[in-house]
């Protein structure tokens, strides 16, 4: 019945996602032309001779019309060919793959921890709103949400790394165990920032839903608290929690970049920062496009989850269709 509606909704969302990606690709493509000295200077470096610059122009096809160049760039990018790094000659895709080995566990583990701790604490404090646990948690969450990731990272690094010597403070580490040890503080940093946001939205929404009539009615019917929270309250609060999860994932990618810089982790974020400092344009373009594609996908998944979670969204979409 609603398959058609979902398909139409999905088609609209996909079109919007493609539009966002096109905008990013144009910006990223133009960057190379707007950069001081133009693309050949960016590729050849400060000390390139005029002859070298001319060669670079020819080899990169920079004398072709702009539209043609953009089309070439776009069709390559669609085939995941972002060219090679100017600094290391390594294909950009390989460099991104290597970075993902650090960034993927960092973001994924943090996100799982944030979802578990954030929703659990949020639900608990909503039940005891006004109590001392609630007030302490809300206060801490406000501090956590106000602290930029690189500040939290630095404080954790100073306390647990430098003062107590419990954990390594710099680098990625070799082998699984060492890498895991090196990721503890970065994951803790991201978890603190994200949990604060997750807890705030869960607590607010659960508290609102708990005050609604259907919860009172469910209590009156003698349903257990666990049943009410699991079946009724969390599903009603679900939309806002899922929306916030999407924002948190996007945040984790941005803040992950700063955390990777602070802890000297060789992830995708660090790859981008290094490429920016070295003016390594193909790497900048590749990483930015991959990150944008990831974020657009996350937003799409969030939209689809609305349908799965809330029948009212389905009905509403059907009514409009």
């Amino acid at each position: 019945m609603s398959g058609n509606v979902i398909a139409r909704f999905l088609a609209r969302r996909l079109a919007a996602a493609v539009l966002v990606l096109l905008v990013v690709s144009v910006v990223v493509f133009l960057l190379i032309h707007l950069a001081p000295g133009g693309p050949e200077q960016a590729a050849g470096g400060e000390f390139a001779t005029p002859q070298q610059l001319a060669n670079i122009r020819a080899s990169l096809g920079l004398d072709d019309p702009l539209a043609e160049q953009y089309w070439r760039f776009l069709s390559n990018a669609v085939g995941l060919d972002f060219g090679s790094s100017i600094a290391t000659r390594e294909p950009v895709l390989d460099a991104i793959g290597r970075g993902l080995q650090v960034t993927a566990p960092l973001v994924l583990v943090s996100f799982l921890l944030i979802c578990t701790i954030g929703t659990a604490l949020g639900t608990l404090t909503a039940h005891r709103a006004g109590g001392s646990l609630d007030r302490a948690t809300v206060g801490l969450a406000l501090v956590g949400a106000s602290a930029p990731a690189f500040v939290t990272a630095l404080i954790l690094l100073t306390v647990f790394g430098v003062q107590l010597h419990w954990l390594p403070v710099f680098g990625t580490g070799e082998g699984f165990a060492e890498r895991a040890r090196h990721l503890v503080l970065p994951i803790a940093t991201l978890t603190i920032a994200g949990t604060a946001a997750m807890l705030q939205i869960t607590r607010t929404r659960v508290k609102e839903v708990l005050g609604e009539d259907h919860v009172t009615f469910a209590r009156a019917r003698g349903l257990s608290s666990r049943y009410i929270v699991g079946r009724s309250v969390l599903r009603n609060a679900g939309i806002q929690i899922v929306t916030r999860s999407g924002t948190i994932v996007v945040g984790l990618v941005s803040w992950g970049l700063l955390v990777e810089t602070t802890f000297g982790l060789d992830g995708v974020g660090q790859l981008l920062v290094k490429a920016i400092n070295a003016r390594d344009i193909p790497v900048i373009q590749g990483v930015t496009l991959v990150i944008a594609a990831f974020i657009v996908t996350v937003n799409l998944v969030v939209d689809l989850l609305y349908f799965a979670l809330d029948p009212r969204v389905r009905v509403h979409a059907e009514a409009r269709a």
């Binding site: 919007a16 996602a17 539009l19 966002v20 905008v23 990013v24 910006v27 990223v28 960057l31 707007l34 950069a35 001081p36 709103a129 006004g130 206060g139 406000l142 501090v143 949400a145 106000s146 602290a147 930029p148 690189f150 500040v151 630095l154 404080i155 690094l157 100073t158 430098v162 003062q163 708990l210 005050g211 009172t216 209590r219 009156a220 003698g222 996007v250 990618v253 941005s254 803040w255 970049l257 700063l258 810089t261 602070t262 981008l272 920062v273 920016i276 400092n277 003016r279 344009i281 900048i284 930015t288 990150i291 944008a292 974020i295 657009v296 937003n299």
Partner: protein, 296 residues
């Protein structure tokens, strides 16, 4: 559990909360808000007259006295170049406050203007504005800003300009929703009926009623801006090298965190304290404005 029981449990919980709220209302200002106001006032004082509070010249280099730990002469120690950390934290308040202030002012003015036009007039203008705002909103603001500012080799004004573009959709969404919520209320309809011009309705009738939302957006934009700008400075893309800035100090001094941890931690705490204070104060002012609006 019977129905009255459940109701009683709910109201008991609410009762406890509202009692503590009303106590706060009687005394006027909760302690956290008072502390936030004091902290922000101190930061503003540092920004206006750093010489008044800084014990030393923040740029004074003392090669022999580098990386001292906290002492009577240097309350927070010195950095690698022997500059007094406390003085640099005090001097850093200026760029820390001025940047976000310019950023959020520009964002709020632009988004209020667009929200009034798009929300009240609707039509194609609303469609275009909303679509563009949604597209920008879907981009990872911090990363795109880092890329753009980075490729152009950094720059404080460029950073602010790019961030205005990326922060406007957030405020615009809040304000546009508020305009749409109000545009068919009786007072607006009445004004329309007696022939008040559209411009006048927007400026004289809708704008004043947006005040709580505008204040919220202002504080929100301030805290966002402070975090984003200090992050850019942390990556070396914001303020020029050498200038006292909290984000940049953190980046410069984190390498020597073993010798003098305060050199990096103190500016970090300054950022958190300012953002936290602005969050608390902003929330409190919003609640007061909303309450006053409702009571009227």
């Amino acid at each position: 559990m019977s129905v009255p029981d459940a109701k009683a449990a709910v109201t008991a919980r609410d009762g406890r909360r509202s009692r503590s709220r009303s106590r706060a209302r009687r005394t006027g200002m909760p302690v956290s808000v008072a502390l936030s106001a004091v902290a922000l006032a101190a930061a503003i004082l540092c920004a206006i007259a750093p010489g008044l509070l800084a014990p030393q010249d923040p740029a004074l280099i003392d090669p022999a006295g580098g990386l001292q730990t906290a002492s009577g002469a240097h309350l927070l120690g010195t950095d690698a170049l022997g500059r007094d950390v406390l003085s640099r934290v005090v001097a850093g308040a200026r760029s820390a406050l001025v940047g976000p202030l310019i950023l959020t002012s520009a964002t709020v003015v632009i988004s209020t203007f667009l929200a009034l036009l798009a929300g009240y007039l609707g039509g194609w203008f609303d469609a275009v504005v909303s679509r563009v705002a949604d597209t920008i909103y879907a981009l990872p603001a911090l990363i795109v800003t880092i890329v753009i500012v980075g490729v152009f080799g950094g720059g404080w004004w460029l950073a602010i300009g790019v961030l205005v573009v990326f922060n406007t959709p957030t405020a615009l969404r809040i304000l546009r929703a508020a305009v749409i919520e109000r545009r068919d209320l009786p007072y607006v309809e009445a004004a329309r009926t007696i022939g008040v011009s559209r411009w006048s309705i927007m400026v004289r009738h809708l704008l004043p009623n947006l005040e709580p939302m505008i204040v919220t957006c202002f504080f929100l934009g301030f805290t966002y801006g402070m975090v984003e700008l200090s992050a850019l400075s942390f990556l070396g893309l914001g303020v020029p090298p050498g200038s006292p800035d909290w984000g940049r100090m953190l980046a410069e001094n984190r390498v020597q965190v073993a010798q003098n941890p305060w050199a990096a931690v103190a500016p970090g705490i300054a950022i958190v304290a300012t953002v936290l204070s602005a969050n608390i104060l902003g929330g409190w002012i919003y609640e007061r404005l909303e309450r006053r609006k409702r009571e009227r």
